[in-house]
């Protein structure tokens, strides 16, 4: 099983690459929240999404067996610090098992431009290690923006792998992905999120997610997506400086993914 998985990952790197999961909040919302302006784990999908964070934050998430396969276990940590006019963030993710491993380092910079517009860029360096084949490094750039049309309505776009980077000796470049998203809060405690994701060689995938905060400390989340068809759900608990989230995601053909996330607000401002 492990060898088969390693074989698939090695020869389909350019297809599997975008399967790296975002944070638990995003997973619960079926990755629909790219227009959300304050989420640590947007560092990969939309770096502008870190600019709404106030103060300094540290977050980690862990997915023990994505799609029911513990070989794909993913760990992720992000630290974000805001200067007066600039937000800098560092991230690290680890994915895979002994035959195939990916370790990625992220550095992102974001800035609020004008009153209601923010932009961000993240640089990532991924080391891909394949047992008996050696290892290689891939550098990528992701960028994105979020515009608050009104207090309750955001619009965003992002481009992943703007550099159209390739894995060494792989004839096909890693996927370049264009994301477009909207976020709307019809009432204070409900957020509707919609995103479209287009990757070369694949049909456009639509994602829709709802977040509901019934009481001050709890958030309930659910989402659906197509291409492939998935549904997801989860919950968040806010306590003091801690923010804990759990998410699950069902894939029609693969298994269920469980994910947990913990964010600690080190300083408020």
């Amino acid at each position: 099983m492990k060898s088969l998985l390693a074989f698939i990952l090695i020869f389909q790197i350019n297809i599997c690459y975008p399967q790296i999961l975002p944070g638990a909040r995003q997973t619960a919302l079926s990755n629909a929240d790219i227009a959300n302006g304050s989420n640590l784990f947007n560092i990969e999908v939309n770096p502008a999404g870190l600019n709404g964070i106030s103060g300094t934050e540290l977050g980690v998430f862990y997915s023990p067996s994505p799609f029911g396969m513990k070989e794909l276990s993913t760990g992720y940590a992000v630290f974000s610090y805001g200067f007066e006019n600039l937000r800098l963030s560092l991230g690290y993710s680890n994915y895979g098992f002994e035959l195939y491993k990916e370790n990625t380092l992220y550095f992102s910079a974001g800035k609020n431009l004008f009153n209601n517009f923010s932009a961000g860029i993240s640089l990532s360096l991924t080391n891909i290690s394949i047992k008996n084949y050696g290892n290689t490094n891939v550098f990528r750039i992701n960028c994105g923006t979020i515009y608050s049309v009104r207090n309750d309505f955001n619009i965003a776009f992002s481009i992943q792998n703007l550099t159209n980077s390739k894995v060494k000796n792989d004839s096909q470049p890693l996927p370049v992905i264009y994301n477009f998203g909207l976020a709307y809060s019809p009432v204070k405690d409900i957020s509707l999120n919609l995103a479209a994701e287009k990757e070369v060689r694949f049909n456009t995938s639509l994602h829709f997610g709802i977040e509901f905060i019934p009481i001050e400390f709890i958030a309930l989340r659910t989402g659906i997506a197509n291409e492939p068809d998935t549904f997801s759900g989860g919950a968040g608990i806010f306590y003091s400086r801690f923010n804990f989230s759990y998410a699950f995601k069902n894939h029609n053909e693969l298994g269920i993914t469980h994910q947990i996330e913990l964010i600690y607000k080190i300083t408020e401002q």
């Binding site: 431009l113 517009f117 776009f157 159209n164 096909q172 287009k198 070369v200 060689r201 456009t204 659906i224």
Partner: protein, 635 residues
């Protein structure tokens, strides 16, 4: 899931208003359509867009250069403007009595500024020198030329309002002669009888374009009522780089009482393919002389053209135009040519009319040659200030032929008969603008379509600005065309959906996101495109435009087009097919008399295809660099 976008949008739509675009590519797409390459006919529209006129100070002759304005419209605008002391904004256009056009269509070509105090007339010399260089690494296997540079120089000189001179040279990629195409024209204005004369290269527009229209021609677009009705007549210097559709000689306009006359004479060489006996097998109209074979076709044919037109205004609300012209070729068509029945000497006649009464306006043209006829008749109604309606009936004989016509309709080639009815309506609901048109037609080509085929086209467009600095545009277009006319009623169908959002976080920054999908049923396939536009004005003189496009189509059949911001005075609309990415960066900086512009674009195709033709495109990268230096001194 597909409806979630719509549902999402409806949820927050509360306040709605009219939309205006800041993106020049939107204007170009509306008024010129998406065409598959740099389009020469759009030169006129681009120049007008780049140099808008102040509607509060423009003269009648300046307003006449704007498409879609008739003589009557111009009179009404000037009368209203002079009586009120000027327009304060475009909303004032709704109140102009007597206008029979949708004046919102002219907004891209004008600006509104307080009238300046009249100054003593002084003859000021204005010079505009534009030099373009385009490098493209694309190699077509049929034309494996070495020289990939296209070079173009354009000079325009205005001596006050009396003299206008234009000159240009152009070399396409693959051509060796730096003046492979050269053009010159001189126009003198304010001659006796309110006349003007053009010596050199010129364009002629008459009536509805059925006999003579060698200039920009409107197309079906998301502006359902604008541009369908043409507003001839006019002669103008040929400033575009089209190497085929223009005249070379002398032309003149002058007025006498309620009549206006134009005379024209042209004698020039043009390209053609000849057979062994020196007869014409085909006319070559692309202007390329890149290979020995292409160069051998250059200037093989002499063409003379002369004619005159008269516009008479017997009543204030009635205009009648007459045209006579004759084209003569130095050679006959070969028996193998599809034009074999066209005589080398071809006279033609045309009658046009334009009449309005209250909210109604009718116009049309009927042209004849060799016993064949082409006719188009239009009705335009200002139903209310916010509702405009247009309908148009066209009939073109199969054997009707003109070298210089630009008819409205489906016609893709001459010697095709067409009967069709177009109806369009534009409604400003107060909750957004709706454009809708339906066109149905029957066409038959003399040589490759033995049976007439039916077809129809429907477009529904909606644009709205629910919040300040935020606009949404959606459109749906459906085209059906019978495949063979044999009565099996199988229609090739094409559907195109577009969703677009424009937003402006600040005056300096404008963004646009677009999603477009096209589906066809023969064969069954689809094409998708996303693009993201960003325009940033660092200063008033320094602008950045960039676009990122991601696309995927089944084949060329579902190719999608996006009109791009190119160098000033140019535009580019490549067909995007296969699977891949395209992006460009366009910078423009003006310093004193100079403006320097540069655009770098790259297309990466990395999809997979089954057909041999498309396999050639695998993993291909196409780079294109455009540079322009513009100099605009004044004395």
């Amino acid at each position: 899931m597909k409806f979630s976008f719509i549902l999402f949008f409806i949820l927050f739509c509360k306040v709605l208003a009219q939309t205006d675009s800041v993106f020049s590519d939107d204007i170009l797409e509306i008024y010129t359509g998406s065409r598959s390459s740099e389009d020469e006919y759009s030169d006129e529209i681009i120049n007008l867009y780049s140099n808008p006129v102040n509607i509060n100070t423009a003269t009648a002759s300046e307003l006449k250069q704007i498409p879609f304005l008739s003589e009557n419209d111009i009179k009404c605008i000037i009368l209203y403007r002079d009586s009120l002391g000027g327009f304060s904004d475009s909303e004032d256009f709704k109140n102009i009595p007597g206008v029979h056009s949708d004046l919102t269509a002219i907004i891209p070509f004008i600006y509104i500024s307080t009238p300046e105090k009249p100054v003593a007339t002084e003859r000021k010399v204005q010079i505009n020198l534009k030099n373009n260089l385009i490098y493209d690494n694309y190699r077509n296997e049929d034309y494996p030329y070495d020289n990939s540079y296209k070079v173009n120089h354009k000079l325009k000189i205005n001596y006050g309002e009396n003299i206008f001179i234009s000159a240009q040279t152009e070399k396409d990629a693959g051509e060796t002669d730096y003046a492979d195409f050269s053009s010159f024209s001189l126009r003198a204005n304010h001659l006796p009888l309110n006349g003007n004369v053009i010596i050199g290269d010129y364009s002629v527009k008459f009536g509805q374009g059925l006999a003579l229209w060698s200039s920009y021609s409107p197309v079906k677009s998301t502006e359902a009522v604008s541009g369908i009705i043409k507003k001839g007549s006019n002669i103008s210097p040929h400033t575009g780089s089209n190497e085929n559709k223009f005249f070379r000689g002398i032309a003149s306009n002058f007025d006498y009482g309620f009549m206006a006359f134009s005379l024209f004479y042209s004698d020039r060489k043009t390209d053609a393919t000849l057979d062994d006996s020196g007869n014409i097998t085909s006319l070559k109209t692309d202007g390329y002389h890149r290979t020995v074979n292409e160069a051998n076709k250059k200037n093989n044919l002499a063409e003379t053209f002369y004619g005159f037109s008269a516009d008479i205004l017997p009543l204030e609300n009635l205009q009648i135009g007459f045209l006579f012209g004759k084209t003569g070729l130095s050679r006959n068509f070969s028996e193998e040519s599809k034009y074999r029945d066209i005589p080398s000497s071809l006279p033609f006649y045309s009658v046009s009319y334009s009449c309005y009464y209250k909210n109604y306006s009718i116009s049309g043209e009927t042209a004849f040659n060799s016993g064949n006829k082409a006719s188009i008749n239009n009705l335009y109604v200002n139903v209310t200030k916010n509702i405009k309606f247009v309908t148009s009936f066209r009939y073109y004989d199969q054997d009707y032929f003109s070298y210089y016509w630009s008819p409205f309709g489906e016609l893709y080639s001459s010697l095709t008969s067409e009967t069709g009815v177009y109806s369009g309506i534009k409604i400003n609901t107060g909750y957004g603008i709706i454009n809708l048109y339906y066109d149905f037609y029957k066409i038959k080509n003399k040589y490759n379509q033995p049976f007439p085929v039916k077809g129809n086209e429907f477009l529904l467009g909606y644009s709205v600005s629910p919040f300040k600095n935020f606009a949404v545009k959606v459109s749906f277009k459906n085209k059906n065309k019978e495949l063979n006319g044999l009565g099996d009623e199988f229609f090739a169908s094409s559907k195109k959906y577009r969703f677009e959002i424009q937003y402006s976080p600040s005056k300096m920054l404008n963004l646009k996101s677009r999603y477009e999908i096209k589906t066809i049923n023969s064969p069954d396939e689809k094409g998708e495109l996303f693009f993201q536009d960003l325009r940033y004005d660092f200063t008033k003189t320094f602008r950045l435009n960039c676009r990122f496009i991601i696309f995927g189509t089944g084949s060329y059949n579902t190719a999608l087009y996006e009109v791009e911001n190119d160098l000033p005075g140019l535009f580019y609309s490549p067909p995007l097919y296969g699977e891949g990415l395209r992006w460009y960066i366009n910078l423009s900086y003006k310093y004193g008399l100079f403006r320097i512009s540069a655009k770098y674009s790259q297309t990466n195709l990395n999809g997979t295809f089954d057909s041999d033709e498309n396999l050639k495109l695998l993993n291909k990268t196409r780079d294109r660099l455009n540079l322009q230096i513009e100099l605009t001194p004044e004395f």
